[in-house]
Structures are given as C-alpha cells and as structure tokens.
C-alpha cells in the first residue's frame, strides 16, 4: 500500500497577494493543503520558527521541509508535485517568465508603492510615470494571449496577481488612479480574465473586504512609504 503523501501546510496572512500566489499554485497542481492564518500584527512562534530570516508569510511546510519566499515556493511546488506545469517547458521561455517575475517583485514594487502611499507633500509624477511604463512593458509580454501562460493561468500570471486585484483596491483606497483602459487594454482584459477564473475566485480576498482592510491600514502604509523614501 502506498505511503500517505506528507502533509502540506501554508502559513499565510489575510490580504496578502504573496500568499494568494501560493494558494493558486497548490490549487492548480491539485494539492490539498491546510492554511494557517497568522495575525500579521502579532506574529506567532510558529512563523518565527519556520522563517527566522525574514519573519514573513507565505511559508510552505511540506512534510519536514520548510520553504520561504513566494517565488522560491512557486518553483518548489512546480518541481515537488505532479500536475499541470506552472512554468513553460522551453528553457528560454522559462527564463523569460523568471525575468518578468523578478521585474514585478523588484523594479515594479518601488514606484508602485510611492505612487499610491506617499502624501501630498511628495511629487508623485515621476513615480506614476515609471509605474505606468512598467505596466506597459508587462502588458507587451501578453503578446496577444489571454494569459502570460498562454490559454491558461501559469507562473507569471499568479506572480502578477496583485496587479489584477490589489491594484484596483489600492486605487480605490488612495484615490490615485494608475490604470486607464484606453492606455492599457490588453492588461485590463488580462486582469478581468484573472479575477474571473474559477480557481482564482476560490482563494481571492473579496474586494470590499480588502478595501476595508487597506483603508484601516492607510496610515501605516503611508508611514512605511515615507520611511522607505528616506532610506
């Protein structure tokens, strides 16, 4: 009789797009998992034990293995579990997907943050311009397809999930508009397609709840943006 597959647990927190990435990856692979929700303002011993370096969610526990950092976890899930592949098969296409994932997590984040969460004392125009240019570059990667992964959602789509859902929420909470359907038609179509997907809907925070959550934390995010700007 086959040995039982080792348990899969995901340490997450409400409202995190990084956690959503992992839930999507596990669901697309057909992996059953237990979601352990952290109160991110009062982090548990469990989280500190499993992610002593960064103390952040998501953290994947698979049997006796611990994996941290969402993009690292995504690749782990693709490699450790059977099921439809998240990354394309071709080495060059894989390198492109990884490049754009890094772009989203590194170059993209900064102007995005500063566009939305800095106060009226900061000239946002340069940040907004850069954020828009970044979206335009990313949009071009769709290359006429419904998703970055082709006909179905893949690695880069779930990596970009914050842009599909959280971006709109942030625009509503801050009153700052970044996305214009006329300027970014393919991007907007992608975003709508992503949030309408049945698997996505199973693990996507409800928009109104997310708006309330972000609104309650507006001061905190603005303080963080201010601090980072002067680092």
């Amino acid at each position: 009789m086959a040995a039982e597959a080792p348990a899969v647990k995901l340490i997450g927190g409400y409202g995190s797009p990084y956690v959503h990435r992992i839930e999507m990856a596990l669901r697309l692979k057909g992996v059953t998992y237990e979601l352990i929700l952290e109160d991110l303002r009062n982090k548990s011993e469990l989280l500190f034990k499993h992610n002593p370096v960064h103390k952040l969610v998501p953290v994947l526990l698979h049997g006796d293995r611990t994996v941290c950092e969402s993009l690292v976890i995504l690749e782990y899930i693709d490699e450790a579990f059977d099921g439809p592949p998240l990354l394309p098969a071709d080495p060059y296409e894989r390198s492109e997907a990884r490049f754009w994932a890094q772009f989203i997590d590194q170059k993209f984040a900064r102007p995005f943050w500063f566009s939305f969460w800095t106060g009226d004392d900061v000239d946002k125009r340069a940040f907004l311009k850069e954020a828009k240019e970044n979206l335009t570059l990313l949009e071009a990667q769709l290359k006429g397809r419904s998703f970055f992964g082709g006909d179905t959602i893949g690695f880069l789509d779930i990596t970009a999930c914050a842009l599909a859902h959280w971006l709109g929420v942030t625009e509503e909470v801050t009153g700052v508009t970044l996305v214009n359907k006329e300027e970014l038609p393919a991007f907007c179509k992608w975003a709508d397609g992503y949030i309408s997907d049945e698997t996505v809907k199973q693990c996507l925070p409800v928009r109104d709840e997310l708006v309330a959550y972000f609104s309650a934390r507006k001061e905190m995010y603005m303080a963080r943006a201010r601090a980072t700007l002067h680092k």
Partner: protein, 226 residues
Amino acid sequence: MAVEKNNNGLQLLGFWVSPFAQRCHIALAEKGLSYESLEQDLSNKSELLLRANPVHKKIPVLLHGGRPICESLVILQYLDEAFPEASALLPSDPGARAHARFWAGFVDTKVFECGVRLWKRKAGSEPQVQARKEMVEALRTLDAELGDKPFLAGEAFGFVDVAVVPFAAWLVSYGRLGEFDVEEVCPRLVAWAERCGERESVAKSIHPPEKVWEFVGFLKNKLGDK
C-alpha cells in the same frame, strides 16, 4: 565533454568588477562551456547592451544564439536547463533547489542592496549607520547558515556558492565602510571564501579585495551622497 569551437553560440556581456557578471563567468567555467566574453563600458553603453536589455540596461546579459537572457540568477538557471549535459549547478532535489534559490536571493536583497546604501549614503549619517547594522546582521546570518559545512551548498561547491562567492571580494570594503571587523562578524564565511578561491573558476573570475575597494572609492566619488 566537447568544447564547441563556435563558443556554443554564447556571449556574455559583463563588467569586470560586477559580482553579478562574475557569477555568470564562474557558472560557465564550472559547466565547462566556452563563450565569448564582451566587456562593456558602462559609462557609454553599447547598442548591443541597450538592445539586449532594454528594460534595465544592465549587465550581465547572456546571449545564446543572439537571444538575450537577463538577471544573473535567471542566467544561471537557464544555463542548467539549456545545457543539461554539462555538470549541473543546482542540485536535483526540490528541497535542496529551494534552499539554493532562497540563499542566492538573500544575498541580493540583504547583502548587495545594503552594501549599496553603505557606500552611497554619507558616512555616519542615520541611513548609513542603519545600513551598517543591517550588513552586520546579514553577514552573521549567512555565516550561521554556512555553519560547519565546507560549502553553502553542503559537501560540494554548488549553485548557491556560485551566487555568493563574488561578494566575498566585497567583505573587506563592507567592513571598512561599516566600521566592523569582518573576521569577528563572519569568520566561517572568510574561511569559505578562501576555500572557494582555490577553485580555478573562481580564481579566474573574481578580483582582489583591494581592487574592489578602489572601485568602491570611485563609486562613492561619482555617485555617493555629498
């Protein structure tokens, strides 16, 4: 392993002191892959570089049959996947692969990024003092991760060692800018750096710490806060 006369269709756009370019040189040497090395003038970027990396306009860029691959860790993984017959950089076990990716990423976000603030921000200013604290913590963490293992990857030199070893030449500079004793903060890392330096791939690719320090001086002068 056959060494192709046409350099496997590989070209590397690099810059002599860049730890990111050095990762690629080391990786190519470890895999026994010949390639054309094209040193770039970053003060006057070439058409080739701007076309190959229009998004970031940075090195390193690997060109394979003319197609560009950018970002050093993406390049390293591409080399493993495009040349599976050459000795692998990443281990085969998914857990070990995740470990390698995690620590390679750690060096980029916690060591390198902090190092930039260390030379860029005015010495003794609040942000620079903050950067000092963060650098010491990052190096202690890396030192603890190495522990008693001969290499970061374990018993044998691997992907994560390739990713981290170029920064070994920057330790002296970090110590001077951060006013801390490198031997005290990360003694095991120092010994590991020497061990790695005995490998031909590493010895050929990285420059002495004093050369790096000279370069840091140049950077500080040109781009540092006044």
